[in-house]
């Protein structure tokens, strides 16, 4: 098979295998080939145990893979030292988690500013920038609140601000609406759509077809292999319209 790596290609996976060792080794990913271009809004869909989260973790350099190649922005991501991996994650990837993963003893601004701290950005500058991002997500008044004083939707918006602050090449969202009610789910998805509209590449992992249908491309994963990739251009026509999310 011949691949042409163009500038537009952001993520390129070739024959990715991943096995979790154990008494009964678990072969989770059985040869994934995938290409994601810049500016795409992609969802990875599958039932639990299908390997979709593992795939996202590999994309996010949070986990390693056993076989194959993963190119992120034309860089081979393989056998990286933890230091190098941390640097790549910091500069290229923004994460949004189901459980928000905010640091509980830091307020919103400090949470958002943390990635810049690891880039060595000065305190004043990074806090100012964090405030700007919080403002963009409509959380200016909540800037100095602790996570436990905020609602789920607010927390997720803080997390999005934190993911965006380093201007990452790609935004990875693992069940971003999984812990939210349907109203806030719609809010969060519309934020992601807006971000995509302004050129941000986004990959969402979900098991909800309602969420997947909001994206431009749905990658269906089953038993560790990609079953099919469908372009969902006519979102408005999908059975799950904006108002009709299944929760």
């Amino acid at each position: 098979m011949h691949f042409k790596l163009t500038n537009a290609v952001l993520i390129h996976l070739h024959n990715i295998h991943k096995t979790y060792p154990g008494i009964i080794p678990l072969h989770v990913l059985k040869g994934i080939d995938l290409t994601i271009e810049k500016g795409e809004f992609v969802s990875i869909m599958g039932a639990s145990g299908s390997g979709k989260s593992t795939l996202l973790n590999i994309l996010g350099i949070l986990d390693t893979y056993d076989e194959g190649e993963y190119y992120l922005n034309n860089t081979l991501i393989k056998n990286l030292s933890e230091r190098k991996a941390a640097e790549f994650r910091n500069r290229m990837i923004g994460f949004i988690f189901q459980s928000f993963n905010l640091i509980s003893f830091k307020n919103a601004v400090e949470n958002v500013a943390l990635p810049l701290f690891y880039q060595g950005v000065g305190r004043k500058k990074r806090n100012a920038l964090a405030l700007e991002y919080l403002d963009r997500l409509g959380l200016k008044e909540w800037a100095h609140h602790m996570p436990n004083e905020m609602s789920g939707g607010q927390k997720q918006r803080v997390a999005i601000a934190r993911a965006l602050i380093t201007k990452p090449q790609i935004l990875l969202a693992d069940e971003p609406t999984g812990a939210l009610d349907s109203k806030t789910s719609i809010e969060v998805m519309s934020i992601l759509k807006e971000l995509n509209a302004s050129g941000q590449t986004i990959v969402v992992v979900t098991h909800e077809s309602g969420v997947a249908n909001q994206t431009n491309k749905i990658i269906n994963i089953q038993d560790g292999i990609i079953r099919d990739i469908e372009e969902s251009k006519s979102k408005q026509n999908s059975p799950f319209s904006m108002e009709g999310y299944i929760k």
């Binding site: 973790n57 996010g60 949070l62 986990d63 390693t64 933890e82 230091r83 991996a85 941390a86 640097e87 994650r89 910091n90 500069r91 994460f95 988690f97 993963n101 905010l102 640091i103 509980s104 003893f105 830091k106 943390l114 990635p115 701290f117 690891y118 880039q119 305190r123 934190r162 380093t166």
Partner: protein, 415 residues
């Protein structure tokens, strides 16, 4: 750097109780160590002071009464030593004994026009000064010439100066002993083992006045005797030599009494070592419990914070930055509380010094310092604190390395 401290400050504030408990373990460890060392030093210093008041290297022999019948003599015969016995011993055992001296003790009052003291007059050799560590604060001690010329000169105790003369200018003044006029040539310093009633005159002078050819005590300095065994062997030799001369059984324990200060010195030294070792062992184990406390709590902390470290890693924290976070926290806690403990420990020893800095046990005839200057060398205090800080660093480092090694995805899924 400020950011790092800010981070640590937040986590510390977040876990006040945990931090306080860790801190207490550390502070307590160092406090106990310093306090124990200080108190121990108080005892050891008192020991040292006592041992500086006599010559640890000396041996005294006193004549007694026979308890065994031998060579046709009945038991219960009084043995009397003479000056020639000093020479005999010096000759026979010259490898081990030197600076021989003898003394005669006579109980007698002595007086001035002002007052009198009911005391003891010692006829001594010049070598007595070295053997018994007589420190002069004024004038001089008895010398060879005083003995040869049988001068009537006397050295008195400092405490008797005000009683007898009422002035410090006593050298050259007259003292009446048994109706003879003696000239004061020196004043000696009082100490724990010196009876203030004792005055010293030349042995020869006393012999002439009282017509008494006898020495109550013979004293020598020891040469080349270092162990208990050598010391015991020497005592036996001395007894053998004297037994032959005075015709008593060499195994008769009461015919000649030997007081070997080396033996008591060795025992004291042994006691000193035991005290010292005991203090250090207790101190180090207390310190160790502090260290274990720190490492335990750091271990729990790291476990509790695994998820947080996972989040930090996901957003780009390098392994080093995580390691630094934990280790620096550990260092700060141990340094801060270690310093606090050190400070409290030093304050406590200072307090000890103020309240019972010089505890003197009065046993009537003599008094002994049992506690003196309880303080710790600041160097040792700092060293102990530094040790604790280093140990605290290691205690933080081990769990921190574990936290760093765990994969970010595993850390994120922790708990």
């Amino acid at each position: 750097m400020i950011d790092l401290f800010q981070e640590i400050y937040t986590t510390v504030r977040q876990n006040k109780l945990r931090t306080a408990l860790t801190g207490f373990a550390v502070a307590w460890g160092i406090f106990i160590l310093i306090f124990l060392l200080g108190a121990g030093n108080g005892i050891l210093n008192a020991f040292k002071k006592s041992s500086s008041q006599f010559n640890a290297n000396s041996i005294s022999i006193q004549a007694g009464w026979t308890s065994v019948a031998t060579q046709g003599f009945q038991r219960g015969r009084q043995i009397k030593f003479k000056e020639e016995d000093i020479e005999l011993l010096s000759d026979e055992l010259k490898e081990y004994l030197y600076n021989g001296s003898g003394e005669i003790r006579i109980s007698s009052p002595y007086s001035t026009l002002k007052d009198f003291v009911e005391g003891n007059v010692y006829g001594v050799y010049p070598s007595f000064q070295d053997n018994e560590v007589v420190q002069l604060i004024r004038g001089r001690f008895i010398n060879e010439k005083d003995g040869v010329e049988k001068r009537k000169v006397v050295v008195i105790h400092e405490d008797n100066v005000p009683i007898l003369f009422g002035t410090d200018e006593v050298i050259g003044n007259q003292l009446i002993i048994n109706e003879s006029l003696f000239t004061v040539i020196g004043v000696y310093k009082g100490s724990d083992f010196k009876d203030s009633r004792d005055v010293y005159v030349p042995l020869q002078t006393l012999k002439t006045i009282y017509n008494k050819d006898e020495v109550t005590t013979i004293t020598f300095l020891l040469n080349d005797i270092k162990s208990k065994e050598e010391s015991e062997a020497l005592e036996k030799e001395i007894k053998t030599v004297l037994a032959k001369k005075h015709k008593f059984d060499p195994n008769d324990w009461s015919a000649a009494w030997i007081w070997n200060r080396l033996m008591s010195y060795l025992q004291m030294q042994k006691a000193e070592n035991v005290i010292n070792t005991a203090i250090w062992i207790i101190g180090i184990f207390t310190l160790l419990s502090g260290i274990v406390g720190v490492s335990n709590i750091m271990l729990i902390t790291v476990k509790e914070r695994t998820r947080e470290f996972g989040i930090r890693k996901a957003i780009g924290a390098s392994p080093f930055s995580i390691l630094r976070l934990v280790v620096v926290e550990s260092i700060i806690i141990t340094t801060f509380f270690g310093y606090l403990g050190m400070f409290a420990g030093i304050a406590a020893t200072e307090w000890l010094d103020r309240t019972m800095g010089e505890k003197i046990m009065d046993a009537g005839a003599f008094s002994r310092t049992v506690f003196l200057d309880p303080s710790v060398d600041i160097k040792i205090a700092i060293q102990a604190t530094l040790t604790l800080i280093i140990a605290g660093t290691i205690a933080g480092f081990v769990p921190a390395r574990r936290a760093v090694r765990i994969k970010p995805i595993e850390a994120l899924n922790a708990r």
